[in-house]
């Protein structure tokens, strides 16, 4: 469905997308996961032909994004980060205009508009002006608009950015419904780790314009090779002993807690507690956040920029 080869975008001095190679198959729900400014939106804009790559190219539905932009555009749907409907118009009118722009044939137009409105649950509010819609409704209208012309590839750029937890949950349900009912390839970007985990069957973690990991959410989490254990030691003397334990993979100090990556935590926690006197112990399975932090911190060591703590504060939310 999508084949990206050596895709690169350079803005004066800044390498926003750095030689990305990637293949995304039919009916995949692929997540591009990374912090703000990692280059996710730039990739989407290039794939949607809104932005010319500095070098490299990509095939979307078999069409080249540089040589055949019009064909690419007819075959994709896209939901931008910020809602882009005209809020003076009603939801229905916005869809009607885009049905014309995408050349949805006249015999199908009304039927299709009503069916996408039904799919996103906006049929009853279709004749209200968009300015009266909530943030979640606007986002759903964008999805409906992206679906009008039955695209085979759908891009969702931060589909839940700025939504409250309730609307986000609803949005996730709509996206899942989409996958089931419309049978399309979905590429979504997000900086919410749990969103990627919940929706995607494959994830590319992107940082500083590079894909630094590519796998299923489960495999990415397994790749850490352990669980996350958090303790608060009463004395810091024993800390060095912990570092030397063979099953402790990684030690960080976060807000006065010691956070460790521990192989087979269930078995090894008692042993850790023999080495250090702790106020409390918490442990959990790793999530994508941990995967990202591990990979990103490795990157930082290589490039020697920024602090891990700073990054943790930024992405850990």
């Amino acid at each position: 469905m999508i084949k990206i080869t050596h895709l690169t975008k350079r803005y004066e001095g800044l390498l926003a997308v750095d030689d990305i190679n990637l293949e995304i198959g039919q009916n995949e729900v692929f997540g591009l996961l990374g912090p703000n400014g990692a280059g996710k939106t730039t990739v989407i804009h290039m794939l949607a032909t809104l932005l010319k790559p500095t070098s490299g190219t990509a095939l979307v539905n078999g069409f080249d994004i540089i040589a055949q932009p019009a064909k690419v555009r007819s075959s994709i749907g896209i939901v931008f980060q910020a809602p882009s409907s005209d809020d003076m118009l009603t939801g229905y009118e916005n869809l009607k205009i885009h049905a014309f722009l995408y050349g949805v044939p006249s015999y199908d137009r009304e039927k299709r508009i009503q069916s996408v409105l039904d799919l996103v649950g906006l049929a009853e509010r279709q004749h209200d002006q968009v300015k009266k819609y909530s943030g979640g409704m606007r986002r759903r209208l964008e999805i409906a608009r992206g679906l009008l012309h039955r695209p085979t590839v759908m891009f969702l750029d931060e589909p839940t950015l700025g939504l409250d937890p309730n609307s986000r949950g609803m949005m996730w349900e709509y996206i899942k419904k989409l996958v089931k009912e419309e049978k399309m390839t979905i590429i979504l970007t997000t900086h919410y780790m749990e969103e990627a985990d919940h929706l995607c069957n494959r994830i590319g973690i992107i940082d500083e314009g590079k894909i630094i990991a590519l796998d299923s959410p489960l495999n990415l989490k397994k790749s850490l090779g352990g669980d996350i254990v958090k303790i608060r030691p009463r004395s810091w003397k024993a800390l060095e002993n912990i570092r030397l334990l063979p099953y402790v993979r990684k030690v960080e100090i976060v807000d006065g807690d010691v956070v460790m990556l521990v192989e087979n935590a269930k078995k090894n926690i008692p042993d850790i507690l023999r080495h250090v006197d702790s106020e409390y112990v918490e442990f959990r399975s790793p999530d994508l956040n941990d995967v990202f932090l591990k990979l990103a911190s490795k990157n930082i060591k290589e490039s020697g920029e920024g602090g891990f703590m700073e990054r943790y504060a930024q992405y850990g939310k």
Binding site: A48, L89, H98, L101
Partner: protein
């Protein structure tokens, strides 16, 4: 041809959006009709009490400037319509149109037709007011007036859209445009006869597309233009084609994101 039908439908869709927004923003219509009326009734009557025009058949100052005020409304509405490109970009609507399989030329034409429609509706209101103040209309003259409004508004909407496509901020647009619309208006001969001007001013007025609009409008509704109506119309058409081409070019090079 299926493809030409679809281009027509796309232009229609883009125009329809502009038209609906225009109808819903009533304050816009009221505000932009108010200024021309102020000119017509305050300046028109105020100056009319002191100015005696020796040329133009002695119709009185208010009737003399009426065609100019219709053109003024077209100048301001059309050029300022370019600011909607900046609004569309700000609210990402433009991005959603540019990611659709629609050519930049089509987007430009749809937008320009929207601007022409608002100019035409405003001119229609003013022409109605003209009937009240006793302009000597003929049915043929009204048709001519509409043709002039369409040509002038296409030329100047194109100019406004071209400027808008280069600007990032509304403030910047307004600044640039105020350097454009006031010379267009003042040099057009809307407020004074262009005969007997010093040569330097006379040359400047001849570069102003609105000069030909005002003169043609005066032929149409007053029967006293500076040039024959067909000549003015032809010159205006040349401007319309040139500015339209410039507008399409500007839209083609405009960045989507």
């Amino acid at each position: 041809m299926a493809s030409s039908i679809s281009v027509f439908e796309k232009v229609y869709a883009l125009w329809l959006r502009e038209f609906k927004v225009f109808l819903r923003e009533r304050s816009r219509l009221v505000a932009s009709t108010f200024t021309p009326l102020l000119w017509l009734f305050v300046i028109g009557i105020g100056f009319g009490s002191v100015a005696t025009l020796t040329s133009e058949g002695g119709v009185g100052y208010q009737k003399f400037i009426f065609p100019g005020i219709v053109c003024m409304s077209v100048i301001f509405t059309s050029v300022f319509f370019g600011s909607y490109v900046i609004w569309d970009r700000k609210f990402d609507f433009l991005k959603s149109v540019m990611v659709a399989p629609v050519s930049r030329g089509t987007i430009f034409v749809g937008k320009a037709l929207g601007g022409m429609t608002s100019s035409l509706l405003q001119a229609a209101i003013l022409l109605f007011v003209g009937a009240i103040i006793g302009m000597p209309y003929t049915p043929y003259g009204i048709v001519e007036a509409i043709v002039i409004v369409l040509l002038l508004s296409f030329a100047l909407t194109s100019l406004g859209l071209a400027i808008g496509s280069y600007m990032q901020s509304l403030e910047g647009f307004q600044l640039i445009v105020s350097f454009v619309v006031f010379p267009l208006f003042f040099l057009s001969g809307a407020l004074f006869p262009l005969e007997n001007l010093p040569p330097w001013l006379s040359i400047l007025t001849s570069f102003d597309p609105a000069t030909y609009g005002v003169s043609a409008m005066r032929s149409a509704v007053l029967g006293v233009g500076s040039r024959p109506f067909p000549l003015d119309t032809l010159l205006l058409l040349v401007y319309a084609i040139a500015l339209g081409t410039a507008g399409i070019y500007s839209f083609k090079r405009m960045k989507a994101v």
